[in-house]
Symmetry: C2
Subunit: 681 residues, 2 copies
């Protein structure tokens, strides 16, 4: 529990409490400071007053403003760069804490309890300790040495952020933590880890690594960083709200029944759900605890009788949420998870657990209590991925709004960029502003990638003041962006030329487009996986001795994660076959380091195809959801086959017909031009 800050003196608080009570607030005087800290530990919402729902009652404008100031003050205090203790001092403090516990070392992953892509401020232990702010990585601290592990994206960034005197830099793939441990841990050395932050699969790898070194992997009860991190933020408190069945397409009770039937068929008594996206999907609830993904951090147990235990901080629940959840969903505090697991274990029940996603802590506690652990996939992952007809119709609608915003941006860009001086930051802000004007938008679905010239070649580029470039004539500009709408999640990349493009870029762009079209037009039998089809997006580049070093497509949620499984298009092995209703991105690219980047990304959804005469297999294919022009100035038509030209022209006709009526006259004129057919027909 966090304590009131200096900025909220006792007298202040007493006055605030009196006024809250007068306004009928449900939050008492003792709790408001903690609520403010929790709200400040969540990302800033576009609707700055949304959190006030958690206060209850009817505060007047002055009281709202005062509460808002408290949150701002708390947030400002959290964001301000702390200079003391220095990173080196933090490392020293951690080592002292490890010594107290007789640990030779400790592993600090960039992870929260949910193995999320976005983690709350409280879970940014790696950044606090080492300074490294990348979205993937880990550190291992031993008595006499330490290392930070990063992947290819962060090779440059880590040098700016992490002190090489304190930490060796290691490559996550070439020299993974397990290898480093096997070489570096002392014989009989005890390496600590926080079982909340690692999965059983992680622990298996780490255990072997420690054994190889003759040492031992040891689970800690309390993360030592949480001891030495004096001003660690509390867990975030953002409102948990109902997700209207008009968007979700199916009532929670129906989803719970379907998932329960899967568990029952496997004779599993219950399964732990640790992915907040699964909890959000199953219960038709949404939250705002982390950036870009509208879920609430929570654990749940789904039982074979279709009832659910939801472990969530009640302070987060918006008014009416308990009623929305209904009788079959028992709400309990996060701390009650352990009691439930113990009870479950004592009854010798069979507990399903995803060994690649759920915390080792749950496995240990449940098993110790007597439960039988059954390793199996998250039972919500597949049904969540297969969108129902209402979700599909919703995402089509969201894509029309999103396409209109992107088209307005591209038209604006074509007028603005040639004047010179337009920067990546200004462009990204302008695109966000166009999107914010659309209905049902709640946030971006990820930080916009706005890359001019050579910055476009950095696959996971995030613009900063230091890297901000002007969009120059004769160069390419790549913009990858998306938003969270109540009725769907978008993710789209367009690459445009500023002025006349170099001939080489047109060749490369056309090859990327050929790969994109090959995926878009593919028909395939049931049972086909994304691993099988990935090559089609690459072959036109391979012909020229080129390729790109990322996957071709990722699953996308419905007002949920912009990256979701279990399907994907990738050369990596994946056993999940495409099923109707799945949404996946189609995003081949080409990147010339130091020069330019190209990516063409549309979202597509899997649909059944009318079988041709004589067909013996049921066929599936893709319907393209994303609607925005593809820059024809970057296309070399002689490289396209007639059916590829036909696809492009038909796509542009559809973009023109659908988006034209949704945009202003000036944009419409530009769109008319941008979607003109390149074929003779």
């Amino acid at each position: 529990m966090s304590t009131p800050r200096a900025s909220q003196g006792t007298a202040d608080l007493r006055d605030l409490a009196r006024r809250l009570a007068a306004a009928g607030a449900t939050v008492g005087a003792d709790d408001v400071a903690a609520l403010v800290e929790g709200v400040a530990a969540a990302p800033e919402a576009w609707d700055a007053e949304a959190w006030l729902a958690l206060v209850g009652g009817k505060p007047d404008a002055a009281l709202k403003a005062e509460l808002g100031r408290h949150v701002e003050t708390a947030r400002a205090g959290r964001i301000a760069e702390k200079v003391s203790p220095s990173r080196s001092q933090r490392l020293t403090q951690l080592r002292a804490e490890l010594a107290r516990r007789d640990l030779e070392g400790f592993i600090v992953p960039r992870a929260d309890e949910h193995q999320g892509e976005y983690v709350p401020a409280r879970a940014e232990r790696l950044a606090w300790l080492t300074g490294f702010t990348g979205s993937a990585g880990a550190a291992i601290v031993l008595k006499d040495r330490a290392a930070v592990f990063i992947d290819g994206r962060y090779v440059l960034q880590v040098k700016d952020e992490v002190n090489p005197v304190d930490y060796a830099y290691c490559h996550l793939v070439d020299e993974p933590p397990a290898e480093w441990i096997a070489k570096s841990l002392k014989p009989k050395g005890r390496l600590g880890y926080d079982p909340w932050l690692h999965t059983p699969n992680d622990v298996e790898r780490l255990t072997k690594a420690c054994a190889k070194a003759g040492g031992e992997l040891v689970a800690v009860d309390i993360n030592p960083i949480d001891i030495v991190w004096a001003d660690q933020p509390p867990p975030p408190l953002a409102p948990v709200v109902a997700h209207d069945v008009a968007f979700a397409g199916a009532p929670s009770a129906e989803k719970r029944r379907d998932v329960a039937a899967i568990l029952a068929a496997d004779t599993v008594d219950a399964q732990i759900l640790s992915d907040p996206a699964s909890v959000a999907w199953l219960l038709n609830i949404r939250g705002a605890d982390v950036p870009n993904t509208p879920f609430a951090l929570a654990f749940a147990l789904i039982h074979a009788d279709a009832s659910v235990d939801l472990f969530v901080d009640r302070r987060k629940l918006a008014p009416g949420l308990i009623a929305h959840l209904g009788n079959e969903v028992r709400v309990a505090a996060p701390a009650d998870l352990v009691t439930t697991l113990v009870r479950f274990g004592k009854a010798k029940m069979r507990l399903g657990l995803d060994p690649a996603g759920s915390p080792e802590w749950v496995r240990r506690r449940a098993q110790a209590a007597g439960a039988e652990i059954v390793f199996r996939d998250d039972p919500c992952a597949l049904p969540k991925a297969c969108k129902n007809p209402i979700e599909i119709e919703g995402t089509r609608t969201a894509h029309r709004r999103d396409g209109a915003a992107l088209t307005r941006f591209l038209a604006w860009l074509s007028r603005t960029a040639p004047k010179g001086g337009l920067t990546e930051i200004v462009a990204a802000e302008r695109l966000e502003a166009f999107r914010r004007e659309g209905e049902r938008i709640r946030s971006l679905s990820f930080s916009t990638i706005s890359g001019a010239g050579p910055n476009g070649a950095i696959v996971h580029y995030r613009v900063s003041d230091a890297t901000n470039r002007v969009l120059e004539s004769g160069s390419l500009y790549l913009v990858d962006s998306g938003a969270q709408y109540l009725d769907g999640t978008t993710d789209v990349t367009r690459t445009v030329t500023i002025g006349t493009p170099p001939a080489e870029a047109r060749d490369r762009f056309t090859r990327v487009l050929k790969g994109h079209i090959a995926i878009a037009t593919l028909r395939f039998p049931e049972g086909t996986t994304g691993s099988q089809i990935d090559i089609l997006a690459r072959r036109p580049l391979w012909e020229a001795g080129l390729d790109y070093d990322h996957g071709t497509g990722h699953g996308v949620g419905s007002f949920l994660g912009v990256h979701e499984g279990p399907h994907r298009i990738s050369k990596l092995a994946n056993r999940v076959a495409f099923k109707p209703g799945m949404i996946v991105s189609n995003e081949p690219g080409y990147y010339k380091t130091g020069a330019y980047g190209i990516r063409i990304e549309n979202l597509v959804t899997v649909v059944a195809i009318d079988p041709p005469a004589g067909a013996e297999r049921k066929l599936l294919g893709f319907e393209t959801l994303t609607l925005a022009p593809i820059d024809t100035a970057l296309i070399e038509p002689s490289l396209l086959a007639p059916d590829e030209i036909a696809w492009l022209d038909a796509y542009h006709r559809r973009v023109h017909e659908t988006i034209g009526p949704l945009v202003d006259a000036e944009t419409r004129v530009w769109l008319e031009q941008a979607t003109r057919p390149i074929g003779k027909g």
Copy 2:
């Protein structure tokens, strides 16, 4: 040890021994009967006198003939169908033996100690017990019930061969042994298995299945079938001969050094080699213990110091072989493997073992003796797959001979089939006869698939008197065949029309051809696997709602297995990237049950491709090795793209130029016609 048969009375033997001694034979009177039995337990060699090398000395024609008669008598006695004991009696005897050992049941896989595709007569325990002669399967015998497990290929065959009163029929994939055990084994029931015939991976699965039933998996010391099978053949004794470095391309010492370096890098002291193909490749030796694959059944230990322990019956070694093996290869009896493992274990050494290929017996014995087991792939698999330039040149030469034989056959077929009455068996025999006329041939590489009309649609069809069909006018004929030459192994499928083909078959054939060409012409970056490219062979069929239910390609050895790993072209996950020198088949197909089958199979080898201007990745591609005409009467040219027509015409030009000079005038006239270009150019 087998005992002399009735046909070899004591007096006979004494006389034989005297004459052998007079001829300078190295085999004594006591050993000749066992040698004869061992030779008879090996497949019949094309060179019927080859085995006489094992007798030693210089026997005259009369003595050779007499020895030959002894082998023939022994072989005839082995092959004759035994009516007593009946299959049901055998089952009863087995159950009695299990009861003596307090076993609830026993599992009988169709497997030998080497997990080979072809097994020696001695290892045909499944066939002896149940009557089932398929190339894959298993039986499980419990006290009160038994089941035989077969895959889709054998659904009909099992009904002819296995008594349904004694055995339930189960599908290997839909209801695998592990599932059946989990349901059928009694609580506390002990299920026996022979650890020589199962891998550690098998045992892991079976252990879990038994545990699920509340029972136990128990390793047996002696296979109970070997106790009740009174006239079980001895292990085969076929000559082990040196494989000339002129064909192998690299001396054994060099290979051993390279493999040892891999072990040393992994700090493994030695690895058990249980795949006889690995032993054959490593030591440049060949044998004839099983049909179609020219290796000797043997185990070996390759040490990190590049020395080898070879465990093989010395009676098999042809004169001079010990010298060929050299000082670094220690020859020991098969029974000495256990002593070596125990010595190894006592020294606490690290033993590499392939958990998917090596016997559980080795793991158990070595581990019990104190060795540390390191699960890793067979270290010979990858270097064996990457053929050296001499092997590649050898296989090109072998393919020219093989192509000439196949072309002569196809020309003969075009003359003979229209006359009517030609059967699948006669056709297959004629093809074999053409091949036998070629140099360096040692055997077929598998039983020829000779399928007329509907029989062509049975993917693993083997013609028998019962199924033998006439090649009828207006039907398709599919022939899949290959041979073992000293300088290379071949495997080729052609589908031809007898008379005018139906229009649908031309459409399907052309789609299969398009898939074949897509693989043949592909360029791909280093690191690409067969899982990635498989789709290219299927896409033209998918477009029409069609597909085929087998992989697209398998690795092929160099005068070794016609099916070898570790690479393949398949939609199943495979992490082994193509490397120059690998040989793989390219064999898409289409099968219409009850009507016809189509397959076009060439072998290809992976080659480096000259990079196009601006290439950033090293490119690989395929060189087609197989040379024989593809039936143009089955091609619908309007379905082919210009570059596909160009590939076909260029291929046929090459076939004509290469094979034309190698065949008779009549065949050459036919070839001229068969390879005429279909394009306008």
